[in-house]
């Protein structure tokens, strides 16, 4: 079909064999989703319990529950959000990665800037 000198096709028009691997297999029972659900419940209760029991000092606890939240977000993205599915490169992964990088910088540096450590002593 293609001329020998014809260039590589655009990703969207390339054979989708390698892309197909990204798509979720929907032929069997959705164990993954079920475990994802159970896992997210477990993480939620873990965070809730840790705070209700005042398990650790506040700073350590905050770090712990933030860690649990990040884990749970990863779970949602990985299990439920079909993150890798796409035709062609998964641009959404690059977009989300950059968004998360900037979002973390935005929140963290805003807090830092607004501390007003003016420093004249």
């Amino acid at each position: 079909m293609s001329h020998p000198t014809e260039p590589a096709l655009h990703p969207d028009q390339e054979p989708v064999r390698y892309l197909h691997a990204h798509f979720e297999d929907d032929r069997r029972f959705p164990w993954g989703k079920l475990w994802g659900y159970v896992g997210s419940l477990a993480l939620t209760f873990a965070a809730f319990g840790a705070v209700a029991q005042h398990l650790w000092p506040p700073t350590a606890l905050m770090t712990l529950i933030l860690g649990l939240a990040v884990a749970q977000a990863g779970l949602q993205l990985g299990v439920f959000m079909h993150l890798r599915e796409s035709r062609g490169p998964s641009w959404q992964i690059a977009g989300l990665a950059l968004a998360l990088f900037i979002a973390v910088g935005l929140v963290g540096m805003s807090i830092w800037v607004m501390l007003f450590k003016s420093g004249v002593s």
Partner: protein, 660 residues
């Protein structure tokens, strides 16, 4: 002596009773409106206007509408600038009063950034990007129209503030607490926040649209590393919009909640911090600088390669530096408020990050110069803007490094040095770039060239006017003149340089008039572009007829190299693209025109207007129109029109591109 002169000036320019600005604007708007309505009615053009333009989803037409709106806004912002400069020409001039001056500098900044630079960029994106990457349209043609109408109605809402109720008057940055209800009870700031909120949604949609267009709709073979630089900068600009406009939306939204619904985000008595608004605003505001300047970098990269007849030097370095600028631009925003007292740690961090961003910019400058090295430089008007850009922008960048040097910024912050600096980058970078792009792509957009000789006149007036205006302002900064002063007394020694600066501003104004004359004259007498490739171009848009047919490409080209069209011409394959065999033409689906985007924008406009005046029922009516338009959008499955191959064959035959 000075007292006498002061008295004379007062007599010549008495503290005004009439407001020339408002009155002039009223008369002008009314007259323009009457003329437009009369002409349309007498020519029986209302139906044509609706069918061909107001409901269009063709990216090329949307580009033209952006262009018209942007030029109109350039005029408005320019008149604002001249009013300011007139008032500052000599000490104690009361050409306009302080209130008017405050409104004028606010609208000047806001209009130039949001309603002139942004739409002019989108005009070129719309007109060129799909052609350049070998696509038939943008990814979301209807959303493209939505973007335009949100911008247009946002701009309209902003501009009617001059006529109805009062303009915003707290600067284009609108810092609280000056913009809080208690200090600013009039509707001006509501107009500001509301109109930017509305047009900001439109801009965000544009960002998504062009990002996806470039990522997903390139012609076969056009890998990212074969993309023209303008497409790269459009890609990065779109990404910047995606990340930068949300903080602005939140800053504007929270200010609106404060003003309209009594929230306490920035009210001091309730624990609010105005600096948090400033923080969010510049989280948007600094990337915004690159949103408006990166496309200019892209334009220059195309222009210099074309007119030097040489491929862009250091393509990979250029692309990487664009990406570096994109990422770094999120880490520099605090340099807009080093003097807030955030402490040396914060200031040093952001000072260093700002200096860091100068490096990729420097790389670009040298690459442009070395693109010319070993080339053959044709001094067209587009190229003149490029050549004017390099020194102007280098000076702007150098003074930027000065301002990034934290202790120096303590002295220069908010002075005329700063004013000169950012005009150097925004005019020298963005405006020169966009003008260069307009001269370059004008034949592609409209089918005729702009007259070169008149263009040179406009260029020299504009360029010299620019330096006469802003060169002295650096020195005024060193004399301690701070920005946003509506007048100043004798005795500071500021008047000489201010006078020169005002003269320069009028020269720039003359340049604008010549530019407009150039366009109007060329419309009648300009050289028609029958080849589609008047400049011996390098990129795919020049393989198309000027202007391109509605479907752009009868057959999508296959790209084999960077500077795809140049390579095709060099390999003698131009006709493979320029000629199409009848049997190669397939039926096409094109987006169908729709009034939905117009009504969506109208709904937002009604909502905004109602909320500005706290006429809640009008606001709710606007929201109902918005929701109804969105529902219409969701339920409209008949959004395509089918174009028969015969139609395409006929069109191509008429263009002389169909092989017999």
């Amino acid at each position: 002596m000075q007292a006498a002169l002061s008295y004379l000036l007062h007599t010549l320019f008495p503290p005004t009773v009439l407001r020339p600005t408002e009155l002039g604007a009223d008369v002008l708007i009314l007259a323009t409106g009457v003329i437009i309505v009369t002409v349309l009615t007498r020519q029986k053009k209302w139906g044509w206007l609706w069918r061909e333009w107001l409901t269009t989803v063709d990216h090329k037409k949307i580009g033209v509408m952006y262009l018209i709106a942007a030029i109109a806004m350039l005029f408005r912002g320019g008149v604002d600038a001249l009013m300011m400069r007139t008032n500052l020409a000599l000490p104690s001039v009361h050409f306009i009063n302080a209130e008017e001056y405050n409104e004028v500098f606010t609208t000047h900044g806001t209009i130039m950034i949001f309603f002139m630079a942004m739409p002019l960029i989108f005009a070129l994106f719309n007109a060129i990007i799909p052609l350049m990457i070998g696509a038939r349209d943008v990814a979301f043609p209807r959303l493209n129209a939505v973007s335009f109408w949100l911008f247009a109605f946002g701009a309209l809402l902003f501009n009617i503030s001059f006529v109805v109720g009062g303009s915003p008057n707290a600067g284009w940055t609108a810092y609280p607490p000056l913009t809080e209800l208690a200090f600013n009870p009039g509707p001006g700031e509501d107009y500001y926040f509301m109109s930017l909120f509305i047009s900001g949604i439109g801009t965000t949609i544009t960002g998504i649209n062009f990002l996806v267009t470039i990522l997903r709709m390139r012609a076969p073979g056009m890998t990212l590393w074969r993309m023209p630089l303008f497409a790269w900068t459009a890609l990065c600009t779109s990404a910047l919009i995606l990340f930068a406009f949300p903080p602005l939306t939140v800053a504007l939204g929270t200010s609106l909640l404060d003003r309209l619904f009594g929230a306490s985000f920035y009210t001091l008595g309730h624990g609010g911090m105005p600096m948090m608004y400033v923080n969010l605003f510049w989280l948007f505001g600094h990337p915004e600088v690159y949103i408006v300047v990166l496309p200019a970098f892209g334009i220059f990269s195309e222009v210099v390669a074309t007119y030097a007849r040489k491929p862009l030097f250091g393509y990979s370095a250029m692309v990487l530096s664009v990406i570096a600028i994109m990422v770094l631009s999120y880490g520099t925003w605090v340099h807009h408020f080093f003097t807030m007292g955030a402490g040396p740690g914060v200031n040093v961090f952001f000072g260093l990050s700002t200096m860091l961003i100068a490096i990729p910019t420097g790389v670009k400058i040298f690459n442009w110069i070395f693109t010319m090295w070993g080339g053959r430089i044709r001094l067209t008007v587009a190229m003149l803007y490029q050549l004017a850009f390099i020194p102007t922008f280098v000076v702007g960048g150098a003074t930027g490094v000065l301002l990034a040097t934290v202790p120096v910024d303590y002295q220069l912050h908010n002075t005329y040095f700063l004013v000169a600096h950012f005009h150097n980058t925004l005019i020298g970078g963005t405006v020169f770039g966009l003008l260069s792009g307009l001269y370059y792509w004008w034949p592609k957009m409209f089918g005729y060239k702009l007259d070169e000789r008149q263009g040179q006149w406009a260029f020299w007036l504009f360029f010299l006017g620019f330096w006469i205006t802003f060169g002295p302002q650096y020195l005024l900064g060193l004399q301690g003149m701070t920005r946003r002063l509506w007048t100043y007394p004798f005795g500071f020694g500021w008047h000489e340089l201010n006078f020169i600066s005002t003269v320069g501003a009028y020269i720039m104004g003359a340049g604008f008039l010549v530019l407009v004359y150039n366009v109007l004259w060329s419309m009648q007498h300009g050289e028609r572009d029958l080849t589609g490739d008047p400049w011996d171009g390098r990129t795919l848009e020049w393989s198309l007829p000027s202007p391109a047919p509605e479907y752009n490409f009868a057959r999508i080209p296959v790209v084999t190299a960077r500077d795809a069209w140049w390579a095709m011409k060099a390999e003698g394959r131009a006709n493979q693209v320029k000629r199409v065999r009848p049997e190669e033409v397939a039926a096409l689906e094109l987006p169908r025109n729709t009034g939905m985007p117009f009504f969506l924008g109208l709904g937002f406009f009604i909502m905004g207007f109602g909320l500005v005046f706290r006429w809640w029922w009008i606001g709710i009516a606007g929201i109902v129109v918005v929701l109804a338009s969105m529902l219409w959008f969701g339920f409209d499955y008949d959004d395509k029109k089918h174009v028969h191959p015969d139609v395409i064959r006929r069109t191509e035959a008429a263009l002389g591109r169909l092989e017999a």
